[in-house]
Symmetry: D2
């Protein structure tokens, strides 16, 4: 059994980890931390997870962490660095949910997150945990930077097209819509029920959301021309899920079947990425509570334009499911061990 | 024009007052206070109400209030007393939204709200602002205690039956369901979107909610036997509305038509209370954004039992609309002036 | 592997069966019928379940059913009888989701469902599939009548109390609230989004819902005095879940700890029933997508009254999960095989 | 008093007309038709509108319509033509909600709506009822084609920019999100509660939605270069509202203040269009149940790109409120007579 610790386990990503790991045949959660829930049982804070009735939250003391096989760090941005710096000294594996180690460009991190990086020396060793793309490096990593939820929904459909050398115009528009759990368990005024319900709004549009540098840095690893993304997130009155509508144009017209073929080939052996049939567009429901990313393709304008639509569950493939997929890789388990493939019917 | 001040205008009841008064032909909001929104325009805080673009929130200083015709106090329980004590010295009329002056029994207030009453001498002069029932006293009142939202939904259907001397068994069960705006704009963890959405729960059931003493005190003004209510509120994943399902039994069987007749007679001239036709049960939608209370009647068990179902919008008939109805009474306007009668179609 | 057929698999209970059985280690769905979806793949109709991409719906011909180990009949009330009559001739096991075999009293069925029973001879052999209560009979049954969703939420908390001989007053009030999926995939006008959303309403209250005779017949198997239930269902704007608020009074006061003790004892070895701790009331979220029933207890009035609150997911413990629990019993598997215990965190 | 008839009054746009006209001081609904609700009172079908308790739906017979001042035709596409053809013979004014008379290009209508036009001779006389833009022609029109809901949200922000001769690149991307009431009261499977709730999806994207030719024809009345729109509608789990995110690029960089200035100037005297302040983006709530269109502006990339975000209530500014604004114009009333300006606070 893999012995698991979760640092910051009282939020939604921590709770989802607990939920998913309850059904993992080869992992066991042994240790969880939380400041606000310190002293409480996990089964008390999350009454849906009552099997954790004897697992208590403790306050975090990064100098006194137990010897386990893996730690998931579910801390806010800027708070993981110090913990990772300590843990990296021991042989434990680390999957970090924050943005602290996602960007290779430390200066970009410092600019976007408005703080000095406390462990810049780790950034180059950290592997970006989009398993389908970086699987090889993940297997031997000590520190995995789990991707952001929006980036996951954008990178999975686009990287294979860039890798295939298609003549994509470098200006890409991404219009994303996310459920409210993406804002966490302290969401501020916009996230309270009566404000978010029956409402819909855009925020931090164009070039202002912190996931933008992450999206661009990773896309540009695979692009021949410098990609520049217009990224417009919106707040959707649902609990879970991200749907990204991605607008592409091609300098040389591409055919519908060519795009489909590239994506199908890229993901043919992947349990967690599904390319929709021609004419089919994915809906949020079908990926909710699953670790899947479903991708629909619509070509128009004689092959000069394409719309890609991708759907994920922000708490699963966009966070905790992805992290477990990474854990499975780190420990040489089949990647789908303990992970839900089916989405919802309703 | 009636010159209106609103103390504590940045919450939902204050915002709803602003919304409703924007369409009142004979009242004008001149003054609004808020601590958190001090310095902001009302139209900025509530972008739906942009006609208030030049009305600024000021912090509350009860010693320096301007001379107006009426003040609405939209403050938390326990905070109105001090302001009312000051205002009562001037000729202004006061409608208080808090519980501070709803109970005649000061000791009950102190027990349920767990604090000493700062102005017990005003409790006897304050008139309980359920206009349909206490209209005569309201007209000449200086201080009106606007009813709680749950009590409004319970008192309107029950008082006429008690007044008619029906032989109602004194144990009454009220199973109420309220939308989330009832918890205000700082609702705590239970009121954040991802917790309340797709969820439903009971809270403070049986004999533990603070609206219970208010319901019982007012019912017992009209009852021949001491009424004792089992009151179970539930949190409903909608923005607005309360539906109360009220279970009655009769020592002497009553007929369906008798109950209907009493209620229809009681409210035949009331614009804001509607008795449903036989077989019809009211739904939340039909009273949302209206100042109405709709009441459905279902008799069974050969007249030995009845279920009454009442619906209101907690922010309108349950708060701000009711307050304006009281203002209209205080200033001898037709009671429905500026108030919405129609509910929603969708 | 248990070979499974599902008759009427294109609705919500059929879809949920497919979803749950996809993770059952010892059962395999081999055959599914549907009229409206005939010719389609299950993975096409339910794109969340794409692993069923090669399983086609066929139209139902009850004379030409394949030889399998078990059939689940997910047909409307009145439609199962004919199919069961045919299947009963073969050695296959049957779990019927309709009301056709739930009532021992055939006359009651004919009255409430307004049609003659086509297979009255089977009613006495059918076992009522509330596994926790009728486990012994289920193990050897040929035909299991899967309980209604509302009855499940009422019977699980009440039967142990009746069985313990507590002096419960025979008039019991049940105020139930159900998510919209309970109305199926052709819900009529009330079930379309813009009508149900932001709405809430009661329907078929007091003595008029078809689940009433089912509740009363089963309760009275365990009661010393004839129980008479006032049952008021309400339509809740959520996808899944039933919360029932049950009002009891006792002729002889009972203590909080006594009630808790009886229920805890009754369910101490049950994986799918959880008695809440003192002071805790269950919420819908915690049982959604789980096969659990959580029960909260609140005593008041010096032990003369109790409120029990029970929560289930209407599609899981209230339908398809319960059916699989029954299948596990029928085939001598551990009852929890392949069934979710954890509810949602969000 | 303007005497009003509504043809097809039992759907959402008809119901919303009834709701709004109940508060119109100079109009009176005298006649309503519906096939499915024939014989019922409007107040029975829409229990929120109980003041219409004595107004009965009659089946439509276009040969026997009463002599009134104005008819609103709330019929499905393809059904208005025959009625308009009859009504045009009398002196009555007509506001048609369908697409039948929106396009000048009859061939386009026939292609997109897949049927021959029965009254092509009326298409040139019909005036497109976007009041802010075509007010002059509307005043004297006999037949007003009320705009589609999506087009309203796109045309109001874009027409002033085109009219100002800005060098807008002709490829415009519009990513729109609409509440479910836009699909009407017979929405099909996608519109039932359990399918639409907690879900989100794109449909008829790029060049396939019927509102596309309407958007392009009207934009091109004001464009120097042929505009070509990529239009992607999405289904949003809210009752009401459309938010359109519009992506523009400029051949010559424009400044933020220039765009703002043009839009502010265009709408400075309009009660129903509001240009947001710099940095402010509109949200759905603030226009719900109001006749307003709020528009936010975000420039980036050194003036080479802009995102415009517009919000309307699809049933008010996108349908019935717009129609009343047109009626007010037709009868020389102030355009805002009887129309709500304030949106929701919650």
């Amino acid at each position: 059994m893999i012995k698991v610790g979760i640092i910051g386990a009282s939020g939604y990503t921590g709770g989802e980890l607990l939920h998913l790991l309850a059904n993992h045949p080869q992992a066991e959660v042994c240790y969880i931390t939380s400041e606000r829930a310190a002293g409480q049982d996990a089964g008390e804070l999350f009454p849906g997870l009552y099997r954790y009735n004897r697992l208590k939250f403790t306050p975090l003391d990064e100098k006194e962490l137990p010897a386990l096989d893996i730690f998931f760090l579910c801390l806010p941005h800027g708070k993981s660095m110090a913990v990772a710096k300590e843990l990296i000294k021991s042989p434990v594996r680390i999957v970090d949910f924050s943005a602290d180690f996602r960007l290779r460009a430390v200066a970009e991190f410092e600019k976007w997150y408005n703080q000095p990086h406390l462990a810049p020396e780790l950034c180059n060793n950290a592997v970006y945990g989009l398993t389908e793309i970086f699987r090889e490096q993940i297997r031997t990593a000590k520190l995995v930077a789990n991707p952001g939820c929006y980036p996951t929904s954008v990178l999975l459909p686009l990287i294979p097209l860039l890798r295939a050398g298609l003549d994509i115009s470098p200006d890409i528009i991404v219009d994303s819509k996310s459920g409210v759990s993406g804002a966490g368990r302290n969401p501020g005024l916009n996230g309270i029920f009566a404000e978010a319900n029956e409402n819909f709004s855009a925020y931090k549009i164009a070039r202002s959301h912190r996931h933008l540098p992450e999206i661009e840095e990773k896309l540009n690893l695979f692009a021949s021309k410098q990609i520049r993304v217009t990224f417009s997130p919106h707040l959707l009155p649902v609990n879970r899920g991200i749907l990204s509508t991605i607008y592409l144009s091609f300098s040389n017209p591409a055919s519908d079947s060519r795009i489909t073929e590239i994506l199908e080939l890229a993901y043919q052996d992947e349990p967690f990425v599904r390319i929709c049939k021609p004419g089919e567009l994915p809906q949020l429901t079908q990926v909710q509570r699953s670790n899947r990313c479903d991708i629909g393709i619509h070509m128009y304008n004689n092959g000069k334009n394409a719309i890609l639509i991708s759907c994920i569950d922000n708490l699963v493939k966009g966070a905790s499911g992805q992290a477990i997929q990474n854990m499975n890789s780190l420990f040489n388990l089949p990647e789908s061990t303990g992970l839900p493939i089916e989405g919802e019917i309703v």
